[in-house]
């Protein structure tokens, strides 16, 4: 019974990781690649680690596995957001067929602050004036 469970869970996890790797290779754009790594791989890693917990069937191993899964679930979105933000500032182009870029013109180029107002340009100009003065 546990053998069947381990085989099913680890196969599902391996398939998810393989699909994520294929998607990571084939996606046309950096941002799409980042989204692949955060979702599919997190699920695959979680499934394989759960199969390890079922195999050992000890409290210490199960708690360790839960800690790893919780840590990955917590950190994967944070890391993806950080690297996506950095690549947006670096000027990485989106895919040609992307429908929209909601951040266009909302990030200040120099101070890296997010702003949705129309007075974006004015503030940057005043900042420059301050520096001159």
């Amino acid at each position: 019974m546990t053998d069947a469970l381990i085989i099913i869970l680890s196969t599902l996890g391996a398939i998810f990781i393989l699909l994520a790797a294929v998607g990571f290779l084939r996606m046309p754009d950096t941002y799409l690649r980042i989204s692949v790594t955060t979702k599919a791989v997190t699920l695959g890693v979680g499934l394989i680690l759960v199969s390890a917990a079922i195999y050992f069937d000890e409290l210490s191993v199960t708690s360790r596995v839960l800690a790893i899964i919780l840590f990955i679930i917590l950190t994967a979105p944070v890391g993806a957001h950080l690297i996506g933000r950095a690549s947006y500032f670096l000027g990485v182009k989106m895919w040609d067929k992307s429908v929209m870029d909601e951040l266009e013109g909302k990030y200040k180029k120099f101070s890296h602050k997010l702003d949705s107002g129309d007075d974006l340009k004015d503030e940057e100009e005043t900042e420059e004036e301050k520096e001159k003065g």
């Binding site: 053998d3 381990i6 085989i7 680890s10 196969t11 996890g13 391996a14 398939i15 990781i17 393989l18 994520a20 790797a21 294929v22 990571f24 290779l25 950096t30 690649r33 980042i34 790594t37 791989v41 695959g44 890693v45 394989i48 680690l49 199969s51 390890a52 195999y55 050992f56 000890e58 210490s60 191993v61 360790r64 596995v65 800690a67 790893i68 840590f71 990955i72 950190t75 994967a76 944070v78 890391g79 993806a80 950080l82 690297i83 996506g84 933000r85 950095a86 690549s87 500032f89 670096l90 990485v92 180029k109 120099f110 890296h112 420059e128 520096e131 001159k132």
Partner: protein
Amino acid sequence: MTVEEYLYYIILPILAVSVLLVFIRFVMGPKIADRVVALDLLITIGITIIAIYSIVYDQSTFLDIALILGLIAFLSTVAFSYYLEKRNKLEMDEKKRKRNE
């Protein structure tokens, strides 16, 4: 076929192939952000390989190393993105100063 054999002969090759695919993107990666994400992904797949190995060799201690690797992956991603952003900011400041001159 026991569970250990199944994991060793079927799951590990699948994971190895996915590591290879990610590594191709790591070498190709047109931008540096792609390489950082590929590195993160390689370490995350390494965690699963460690988990499979800990089942095959019946050593639950290996999972500690998986935990540490997860920590290192997160730290490296954060550090890379922080310094990339900082470098970009410095370049922007330089450009601004030149324009003012």
